[in-house]
Subunit: 394 residues, 2 copies
Amino acid sequence: MSPHTPPLSRRLDGLQSSAIRDLLKLTARPDIVSLAGGLPDEQLMPREAIARAAESALADPSRLQYTESAGWGPLREVLASRESVRLGRPVPLEEIFVTHGSQQALSLLGEVLLDPGALVVVEDPAYVGALQVFRAAGARIVAIPLDADGMRVDALTELLERGERPALVHTVSNFHNPRGVTLSPQRRRELAALAERYGFWVVEDDPYGELWFDRPAPQAVASYSPNVIRLSSASKILAPTLRVGWMIAPNEVCRGVELLKQGADLCGSALTQQIAADLLADEPWLGAHLDKVRGIYGERATALVSAVRARFGDRVVSTDAAGGMFVWLDFTDGTDTVELLPRAIDHGVAYVPGSAFAVSQPYRGSMRMCFTTSDAAVLTDAVDRLGRAVDAAG
Amino acid sequence: MSPHTPPLSRRLDGLQSSAIRDLLKLTARPDIVSLAGGLPDEQLMPREAIARAAESALADPSRLQYTESAGWGPLREVLASRESVRLGRPVPLEEIFVTHGSQQALSLLGEVLLDPGALVVVEDPAYVGALQVFRAAGARIVAIPLDADGMRVDALTELLERGERPALVHTVSNFHNPRGVTLSPQRRRELAALAERYGFWVVEDDPYGELWFDRPAPQAVASYSPNVIRLSSASKILAPTLRVGWMIAPNEVCRGVELLKQGADLCGSALTQQIAADLLADEPWLGAHLDKVRGIYGERATALVSAVRARFGDRVVSTDAAGGMFVWLDFTDGTDTVELLPRAIDHGVAYVPGSAFAVSQPYRGSMRMCFTTSDAAVLTDAVDRLGRAVDAAG
């Protein structure tokens, strides 16, 4: 900028662009099979059903107008009815808040729930969009490791017993991004009990719960305590273009989010909110659509995990990929996935190094692979390319 | 909340719901003619053109996916081309940023440009959505009065000469909300020169500029200096449901906003952004559409101002309503518009008291009336009801 240009805020110091986004730009080359993305498969999105719903929405002039900050009424009703079933209690309308994707719910909750310096507990490795929000809120961040049963609630208990008092604990409860694992039912009960005993909020961030392959995800953490705020989204089950996420939270939290939403962007789109409402309300259609997506993602996940195990044997430990969009892989042979990446790209395959999601641990031997947008043959070929890159390193 | 519920952030203390929004809830009764709203007329929104563009957008699966944080590429190209004409210089793509309505641009700029305690100059009366953002950013706010030629730049000059150093000056340059006035060409040049001389940002917030009645709005303030960040929106010229606003700003500002947008909500909707792109790119269609809206809004504005002058004579001073959506009215006879409101509602008419927009001055004798959503006969009747309410007070 020229010497006469006014300065920018100090808030920008130290803020960096998402490493994953920057990487995605590099791996858009057509000769590269990218497992580095984190996108659902646009070919599986219900284009025709969305087009029909859009046409129907646009028949009503009021769908072109501003809508309520908390979300278009009929969408909130559909969500209240679905979440009542999920949570096993009648969820009143004032506890439903529609956001611009669940990222906006996280962002507004960061302002509503956190004073600067508040302690926030995240998982390690973590969803980077949550880290970004909590850092922007000026929180002090402590990470709890994950294992095959999700967040190590025993480690959280130790932290609390040492006297730490978090304002908020964030968990991706189902088919974790990036770690692939699901919080066990036993730990869900324990986490909710800790939240009530020590008086903290749990944010149960659940965009992937409906994408199970063999069996449904366990009962929601939010079903165990009103201290658990539940987030979900239409992005992974319908389409990101709708920009529809939602939050189930106590009325007081929803009203705080509403005040901030007015300043943030006034309201969402009545058009895309009616599309989401129509599709989510049509249970037979939605069931068939989700069965199709689950079936195809499940096949892809199985192909990827099988290829990884066949190619690397006991040189890696990988998640089982029981749902969601990601497989997490730990090399046990000393492979450094940050050093490997340029060579992998030379061999025509990309992934995200574990370090991109790291909070306390380095995860230099780990990587995240996304299986949603490639078929079984491409995934198998990608693992073969990765194998040759690893061999070339040895 | 129960005693075991965790606390909310102190940021919420003192934040209040918008007075206008709360008032709107009260005046939704069918027997009340409400001039209190601030909505464009949904009957004039181009429903069929939007439906055609939606159908075309949804023919491409990639329009269902996440899109770039800075906005869908082809929309940014259309905006760059339009803004190049408006600003009289080639505007490069990296200076165009698409937001979720221009309210989101204001909100993200509040974070990108302002450190806590920074001085922000606003107009008095002010656009309340801007006040909300600047207060949330922890700014110190000073208000400059408006007259028939817009912001009193002489008063700003005095402020600067007294040694005050604003980080940012906010102006609604065309057909001000709520004040109805337009910044004169001479003052635009002066404001831009002051921004360069004293090194502050100007945010030229321009959602109404295309809604002129007799002659186009003056040359954009942003055409006089790169220190001026220009905001505009599709909400008032196409439809709010698109949630498409845009910002023209130096590359460094756009990149700062991009980092924050990723944390705020990742990205906008490729579907509604293609709809906006298609409609804004079709110049013959857009020209005819805008001519129609201008014509109808112009008739309504004229009807309202004529009725006010006929009914109240020299007991009021009203703006001329040369464009936009609002008429501002100052009673010169001591009428208190806050005290009048309940009686006006009894007589079947609602408006927003000037005090709802007040920063330094009380504006107890002023009101804002919105003429967009009622026809001439209804507006004339509304003024008659208002007259009876005022008479009943006398």
